[in-house]
Symmetry: C2
Subunit: 366 residues, 2 copies
């Protein structure tokens, strides 16, 4: 089998092994699902009703332009529909953006330990990833900008709030940063966790600013990860580019209806924010009870510093896994002193609380 040169040269790796696959490998289901930053508080009941209603129309293709949802999103963000493209989750949109912007051999700048799926897509289209270390558990904005200028990066990836650390930059800092983006570079602002962040962490950006594209998702705050729906906000000329390459009928009908209903239920979103804030506190308390430090978080997860090196945290993670707790951890030092625990309902956090001490003991003794 001879593939085209770019895929031929790719390693046969995947960015993430999913929870179900890990369950099959360990031979039992997890008791606490705290590894994928899913939202166990669930979607709005109105979104649930919309799914039920849309199931009756599953024989119809979805609207290729996600028209109603785009109008609602435009209204929600006070932008024009032409500023918005809906896609099959941020993962899908990341792939399209890389394809749209990055020719083989061109560079994309990101942080070492940041979202692996971005790196997967960049490699997948023959691009070159340039990684900068985090600085004090945050992405290092000046360093990213300097490297982007140096390597003539086509994209600068920045998640705010950050995954996997949960940290964030002030919105004002990000807004100011726009003027330092090198010509020819586009800032890719991954705002998957934006709805959990304090207002001050969100930059004010002109939607028509051609220097930046923002990505949002219904997978996190809106609790619809399984439906695969997200969107990007950017200048109309950039957004229109997606229409040249996207899979036009790729956003499923149930997802479009559910997302629309979820967006319209602001009360549920407020409730989710509160639930998530409470769960963050609970995780921090569990950490403290075990002599560990929870890092501040503006997301629906908490990076818990296990107080050792990466090998130690990996042993903790392994022991938790054996005890039925699914969690993940950052991939590189020094971030990998932490494990990453998703906010979840109390039933699951209680399992984590109960099983963490033994996992720490096991990690210390091996």
């Amino acid at each position: 089998m001879r593939f085209a040169p770019i895929p031929q040269a790719l390693p046969a790796i995947v960015p993430f092994i999913g929870a179900e696959e890990m369950e099959r490998r360990r031979g039992a289901p997890y008791i606490a699902r705290l590894g994928a930053n899913e939202n166990g508080f669930g979607p709005s009941p109105r979104a649930h009703e919309a799914m039920i209603a849309a199931a009756s129309e599953a024989w119809k293709y979805g609207d290729a332009t996600s028209h109603e949802l785009r109008l609602a999103l435009a209204d929600h963000h006070a932008v024009a529909p032409e500023n918005i493209v809906v896609g099959a989750g941020i993962d899908g949109l990341l792939g399209l953006l890389v394809r749209l912007m990055v020719a083989p051999g061109e560079a994309v700048v990101t942080s070492d330990g940041a979202y692996p799926t971005l790196n997967y897509h960049v490699a997948g289209f023959g691009g070159r990833i340039e990684k900068l270390p985090y600085r004090d558990d945050r992405e290092d904005l000046p360093a990213l900008l300097a490297r982007a200028a140096e390597v003539e990066a086509r994209l600068i990836y920045l998640a705010n709030p950050d995954n996997p650390m949960g940290s964030w930059h002030d919105g004002a800092t990000l807004t100011a940063m726009l003027d330092d983006i090198p010509p020819g570079s586009l800032l890719l602002l991954d705002e998957a966790y934006a709805e959990f962040a304090p207002d001050a962490a969100l930059p004010r950006i002109d939607p028509n600013d051609p220097r930046v594209i923002r990505m949002r998702t219904f997978s996190k705050a809106y609790g619809l990860a399984g439906l695969r729906i997200g969107y990007a906000i950017g200048a109309p000329a950039l957004i229109a580019g997606f229409d040249r390459i996207r899979n036009h009928f790729g956003v499923n009908r149930i997802a479009q209806q559910a997302a629309l209903a979820a967006l319209q239920d602001g009360d549920w979103l407020d409730r989710t924010r509160q639930n998530v804030a409470d769960a963050r506190d609970r995780i921090a308390q569990i950490a403290a009870d075990n002599g560990l430090t929870a890092l501040p978080s503006a997301t629906n997860f908490v990076a818990v510093d296990c107080g050792g090196d990466g090998a130690f945290a990996r042993r903790v993670l392994g022991a938790l896994d054996r005890a039925g707790v699914f969690a993940r951890m950052p991939g590189v030092a020094p971030l990998d002193r932490c494990i990453r625990i998703s906010c979840a309902p109390e039933a699951e956090l209680a399992v984590f609380a109960e099983r963490l001490p033994a996992a720490l003991d096991a990690a210390r003794q091996s």
Copy 2:
């Protein structure tokens, strides 16, 4: 906005304008939705129940490997799970296959008037489309093979049964054709409509044969177009290639569950086949009642020869559209003497029957 060279050179066109977008343009909903070969007989009630059940787990990402569904499909087709990749519909899989196989400048051979989305993807990855005319309303197998050898095509696209004509080749002919595939070419057999075809139209192909990949969908016979789920069957080394580039979490959770339930309801599939066969007869009768000729079909649509040229058929289509009947037609001569009518429940076909005479009159008088 400067895109990467390949997307920069692409025209801003889309392969299809969806029904909803056309409704917005005409300012009213359609009364009969007969244009996208959707299955208005709907999915199995068991698939519907599965959707409802899966809606409660919409907050979880779908299984990245579609494990259960792949096992069931492997069983269904008497192949190994390693022969199967599940994707977001055939459209999504076509894009991935083109990306996997076709380097910029390389050729893909298809028929002039065949599925436009294939051409869209080939252009989208910088490939070169080579089109051969149909012969007697069927794809011209020897000509496709000869041209593939001539241009060193990486892919040879063939839909069996064919869209948009509804025609088909004997399975035995297709099986025999495999030996004439030029080295370096892969036969891409689009079997979106296979479940509607007579057994004799389906080739017997060794799933491990590296010369061919087959694509199937849950959008047609299984009535789940809105969920975006399909699969490909091929040699393990080829199928494994998809894992290098696909969006691993791109197949939504509800779709996986619904597809599994649909696959397990063979009785419903039989009933759908009968409903579709009856609807084909009904469309043929409507055509005959209006002095038109329905072409034989092994699909869930019927190409109706309007007895004139493409301009005439286009006027018929336009008049039907104004009368609330959504249909489509082939894009090139001589196929475009036909309009393409999807099989549907009687309520919608009755609307077609009622409004066709006036549409023909209008087309004849303008």
